[in-house]
């Protein structure tokens, strides 16, 4: 299978009044046609900024892709003009956001919000009959009952789960080859979460698109992803297929994340947590960014940042432990 998205050495930074903040620092990503890549990490680790960089939707006033290439289908989209990029957005690469409550425009009926995408990418005039029928069909596809009525309703008339379904309908309206889902279920109730995840999985099977699934929830990753990357402070720290990552995590950070899942706990056992806090991007420690919080820290960790190194086929970690060959 071909590589659909190939990101190399992506560096994204923000200009702030306090100086330049590098939010994503040299990230490499490969997503193959029809595969699901899970991206995990704590808030502020750069996973959302990575996805916004791929969509080129960084805040215009201060966000810049400082270096790197983002190759979609063999074409570097960093170099594309805004007009060419618009052709890709919503058409080739689509995105679902975290907050279904605020991600839909409150003053437009849902049908119009789906129809808009069809209008620009599939030349179905917004008010036309075909457009409307297609919208209803899409609403049915994402499992919305009474689609013929809902199509004319406003977002505030729908529940959170329904709205997220509408978001999915918008994203899938033009059959994108890559879907970026940025914490699509985080804001939903647990039961609704499961339904939405099921829906995404089922639609993936049906439509065959690749998915970049961003979440901080390892449980969701286990259910959804084929491959996983773990991010910490703007860098990838571990990369493997899902099974390997869960059965044989090698980076101390990944190990910490897995150990701190409450469902792995026995009763009366103390809840494991990673000590300390994520460092501020304005105040990065020299060397490995995780060193101050790491239980296996070596003197080398404070000197320089380790490389992302293959430790077995399709399994890479960024850690001095691996560099020095002493496996924990």
């Amino acid at each position: 299978m071909g590589t659909l998205l190939r990101v190399r050495n992506l560096i994204t930074s923000f200009n702030t009044s306090e100086g330049q903040v590098v939010a994503v620092n040299g990230v490499d990503i490969d997503i193959k046609e029809g595969r699901v890549l899970g991206v995990v990490g704590e808030s502020g680790c750069g996973k959302s900024v990575t996805s916004l960089s791929i969509m080129r939707l960084l805040p215009k006033s201060n966000g810049i892709i400082a270096a790197g290439i983002i190759e979609y289908n063999g074409q570097d989209i960093v170099q594309l003009s805004e007009a060419e990029m618009r052709n890709i957005r919503g058409n080739e690469i689509a995105m679902i956001f975290q907050e279904p409550m605020t991600a839909l425009n409150p003053v437009l009926p849902v049908g119009e919000q789906i129809g808009e995408a069809l209008e620009i990418h599939q030349s179905l005039t917004l008010k036309s009959r075909e457009n409307r029928l297609r919208c209803i069909e899409l609403l049915k596809m994402v499992g919305i009952p009474r689609a013929e009525e809902i199509v004319d309703e406003y977002p505030h008339q729908l529940s959170g789960g329904m709205r997220q379904r509408v978001m999915i309908a918008i994203a899938l309206s033009c059959h994108p080859r890559l879907l970026i889902a940025d914490e699509p279920t985080t804001a939903l109730d647990v039961t609704i979460q499961a339904q939405v995840l099921d829906l995404i999985r089922q639609l993936k099977k049906q439509l065959g698109m690749a998915i970049m699934f961003i979440t901080h929830d390892l449980g969701v990753i286990a259910e959804m992803a084929d491959d996983v990357i773990v991010m910490y402070a703007g860098k990838i720290v571990e990369e493997a297929d899902t099974y390997t990552l869960f059965t044989n995590p090698r980076h101390p950070y990944t190990q910490g994340l897995l150990a701190s899942r409450p469902d792995k706990m026995k009763r009366d056992e103390k809840l494991h947590c990673i000590r300390g806090m994520v460092p501020s991007p304005l105040d990065m420690p020299p060397g490995c960014a995780f060193a101050p919080r790491c239980d296996h820290c070596l003197p080398a960790c404070y000197q320089a940042m380790p490389r992302l190194k293959d430790i077995e086929p399709n399994h890479r970690i960024r850690c001095w432990l691996a560099e020095q060959g002493c496996n924990n």
């Binding site: 702030t16 009044s17 903040v21 939010a23 808030s43 502020g44 959302s48 914490e183 501020s280 991007p281």
Partner: protein, 296 residues
């Protein structure tokens, strides 16, 4: 998970009190600092008026009337031969003090009534808010004219009328602020500790609404100055011989002076404009500096 700038800034600003954050932000706003400089300059002029000008305020020399600028009179003389520049400087005293006093009146009324309405709710809230509704319907300037006509023209009338008519907006703002603050946990905590309502309002709630009040009061001074100008222009404000920028503008009520003696009314108009402009720019800067939602 938002854009990381807000998070980093928040981290940097942690540990600083909201006031020092506001001060740092204000120091970065050059426009606001210039405006503040202009205002300080105007206040100094008002205070040291007698030392700035060689003429006395009300000295009448009829043979010198309607002198154009120049010839020892920087801005010429008026219909009684008085030096316009001198009166302009002294006029700043009346105009600035009207702005300050009127705003203080409106602040005391607005904050007290707004706090009562917001904190106690129920009947008190209902009555106060209906009064606010009534005041908000009054045509502001016409009511000012009616009241000034009844009370008779004087500087105190202007202060009272401007202050008395402008409190409802502040009351509304304070009430809304208090309603939102009242629901937060630290107020619950204060109540659980058994503090009295008045203590809670004064020492816990009002400090949190202070930012809004400061901004409003700053902008309110501009409103007071404009009110003085309008009323005095119509002859319902500060009375001659005491000069104010507004009653100096009233020279333009005479068509002859409007056309032939622009030095009588253009300078006070420009000074009002500059003062109000500075207050507005500074007030806007303050609002940005004190707005906790604005992280830049």
């Amino acid at each position: 998970m938002g854009v990381p700038i807000s998070q980093t800034n928040r981290r940097l600003e942690q540990g600083l009190s909201p006031w020092s954050i506001a001060l740092t932000r204000l120091k970065r706003n050059r426009m606001a600092l210039i405006a503040l400089g202009v205002l300080i300059f105007l206040v100094l002029i008002a205070i040291f008026a007698p030392f700035i000008t060689p003429y006395s305020r009300d000295e009448i020399t009829m043979e010198n009337k309607f002198q154009p600028p120049g010839n020892g009179h920087l801005l010429g003389t008026d219909d009684l031969g008085r030096d316009v520049f001198t009166r302009l400087i002294y006029g700043s005293r009346a105009s600035l003090s009207v702005g300050l006093v009127a705003t203080s009146i409106s602040m005391i009324l607005g904050v007290t009534l707004g706090a009562i309405a917001g904190y106690y709710g129920g009947m008190a809230d209902n009555i106060i808010m209906r009064i606010v509704d009534i005041f908000m319907c009054f045509p502001f300037f016409l009511m000012a004219i009616v009241m000034a006509a009844i009370l008779g023209p004087s500087i105190y009338t202007v202060m009272a009328v401007s202050g008395f008519l402008s409190w409802p907006i502040l009351a509304r703002i304070v009430r809304a602020e208090i309603l939102s603050i009242k629901e937060r946990e630290f107020i619950e905590a204060a109540r659980a500790l058994g503090l009295k309502s008045a203590d809670i309002i004064v020492s816990h709630i009002l400090p949190n609404t202070l930012a809004v009040i400061i901004v409003y009061v700053t902008l309110g001074i501009a409103g007071g100055i404009l009110g003085e100008a309008g009323l005095s222009y119509l002859g319902l404000g500060v009375k001659q011989p005491q000069p104010s920028w507004g009653n100096m503008l009233a020279a333009a009520q005479s068509f002859r002076s409007l056309i032939k003696h622009p030095w009588l009314w253009v300078p006070p108009g420009i000074l009002i404009f500059i003062t109000v402009l500075s207050i507005n720019i500074f007030g806007d800067g303050l609002r940005d500096a004190l707005d906790p939602k604005l992280k830049r």
